[in-house]
Amino acid sequence: MRVMRHTIPLVAGILVLAACQSTGSPGASGGDGEAVCDGDTDGYLGRICEAGTIVAFTDPAYPPQSFINDETGEYEGFDVDVTNEIAARLGVEVEFTTPAFDAVIAGEWAERWDIAVGSVTITEDRKEILDFTVPYYFTPAQMTTFEESDIQSIEDFAGTTVCVGEATTYLDWIEGTLTLTPEAGDVTDPPADITATTLPTDLDCADSWRSSRRDFEGWISSSTTVAGTIADDYPIREVGDPIFFEPLAVVFDQAVEDRASLVEAVDQIVQDMHNDGTLTAMSEEWFDGLDLTKQE
């Protein structure tokens, strides 16, 4: 039996503090039409509607997808807006929690959080433990090197070390274990004898270069993250065309048996957000006018 939905009370004070820690804003309401929770709901969705709150993962270390506004302490960004909009259309409040990204990919969330709108790429491997909605946007995976490096093309990375964030698809690509679904399109083969080194998040690789470390020749991240660092005068330049395009979707934990109701409802909401232009507007707001919500 699950011991209560979110909590085992330990000390009253701790709970108060935990509760105060991070409650997201309810977000802009969908406005038109009634919320999903206004109708009949059952299963996991029913429990969330009854609680009135959906607990959502976010890792605020990835601007512009997710970051902290240090004046208000609120989470902001593209993923955060999408999360808030989904919750608004469900008719519940959002409460954000912030474990490490690899905890999301590993599955077995123990219902500590219900949903992850964390720019998670759909792969065949992940599909074995996680459920995905339709993609809500697509990002190109971009190879980079530091400014003064001799590397000019993707083939030049042969025999070198490349830095990637932990548990990312970029790591899978280097190790030859990337299994994108057919909708992702073509994938460039990794150069021969390329080895990976990982740091906790993508940006740590870039920071490592900025602090004058040169432990690795390359860094792979989404083109949006790369563009952000270059705009901030990091000593980085892009190499070659994108190596693959990642379809990014909302994910759920397959360990929850009665999850189907929630997955279906959110999948429908994401499709609606594509159709009514909400996602395009959010993408253009956060990605400098780029609409990344359409397949290339």
């Binding site: 039996m1 699950r2 011991v3 209560m4 979110h6 909590t7 085992i8 330990l10 000390v11 004070g13 701790i14 709970l15 503090l17 935990a18 820690q21 991070s22 605020p60 270390a61 990835y62 601007p63 970051f67 902290i68 240090d70 004046e71 302490g73 929690t97 912030t98 474990p99 490490a100 905890a103 077995e108 123990a110 219902e111 500590r112 998040t201 940006l203 740590d204 920071d207 900025r210 602090s211 660092t229 901030d232 990091y234």
Partner: protein, 279 residues
């Protein structure tokens, strides 16, 4: 020196030799000067060294004032969680340590074995592993703890084991004669421990406990891996968001340092007070 001479020349005052009081004053003043000179040099060395480190960080890290002023308060806000987690975990650790020490000294084989296994297991595995275990492994047994309780339990459990050994040593350090004297006075066995041995043991272990608390404040940074938004978590997230990771970590380091300085000050006072009994 003047007394009992062969021939009386005059009083000390008359010949201008300093009085005993004046000599003492002079000695005290000299000591004070020396102490002031020492403190001055001490402070000077600290300021210079900290200044060098600061300038180095400044030039190497592209640290912006703007970041420190806008994000500093947000990072500082994490100190409350750090203190709460450390303090509650410390209370738990002290309770566990007392039980553990009694177990380790017990003649009851079962009690002794349980306490010994606890100490061996916890001291034999990394704290980070224990934190992950409590957060990720316990839910497989349908025990789902929120992040903050999980972090507190992990820290308290870990420090309880180390402090068990401190308590055990403290209890054993109370002279056997104290116990014998109490027994001779006819005190019941339970009171002998509670009223005679324990208070003296506590005084012996206070410095070591204070030391552990300082270590705990810093080790609490490890619970940032299970989504507890304490000092280091806030620093790394804001640092990455604003691309000022080095500055953010430096701010967190300074806050940890200040927290331990403040605590050490109170610990010093407590120890001085408790030492008053030693004559």
């Amino acid at each position: 020196m003047a007394g009992g001479g062969v021939q009386r020349v005059g009083t000390i005052d008359e010949i201008g030799v300093p009085t005993r009081a004046a000599i003492l004053d002079e000695i005290v003043a000299a000591q004070r000067r020396r102490r002031r000179w020492f403190r001055g040099q001490f402070a000077f060395v600290w300021i210079v060294l900290v200044g060098i480190v600061g300038v180095f960080l400044w030039s190497a890290g592209r640290i912006s004032w703007e970041f420190i002023f806008t994000s500093g308060p947000y990072i500082l806000g994490g100190a409350g969680v750090t203190i709460l987690v450390s303090a509650v975990a410390m209370v738990m650790a002290i309770g566990l340590a007392l039980l553990g020490a009694l177990g380790r000294l017990s003649v009851n084989a079962i009690f002794n074995a349980v306490a010994s296994l606890y100490v061996s297991l916890v001291r034999g595995t990394p704290l980070l592993v224990q934190i992950w275990f409590i957060f990720y492994a316990l839910p497989q047994a349908d025990i789902v703890l929120d992040a903050i309780p999980a972090g507190i339990i992990a820290l308290g459990f870990n420090y309880g084991a180390y402090m068990t050994e401190i308590f055990r040593a403290g209890i054993q350090a109370v002279p056997r004669s104290q116990r014998e004297a109490a027994q001779a006075l006819g005190l019941p066995e339970r009171l002998v421990f509670r009223r005679i041995v324990l208070p003296q043991a506590v005084r012996i272990v206070i410095p070591a406990i204070g030391n552990d608390f300082v270590a705990m404040i810093k080790d609490s940074a490890l619970v940032s891996v299970i989504a507890i938004q304490e000092l280091l978590w806030r620093a790394t997230r804001v640092g990455r968001s604003e691309r000022q990771l080095l500055a953010a970590i430096a701010i967190a380091a300074v806050v940890y340092w200040i927290l331990t300085i403040i605590f050490s000050y109170f610990q010093d006072k407590l120890e001085k007070r408790m030492a008053r009994g030693d004559r």
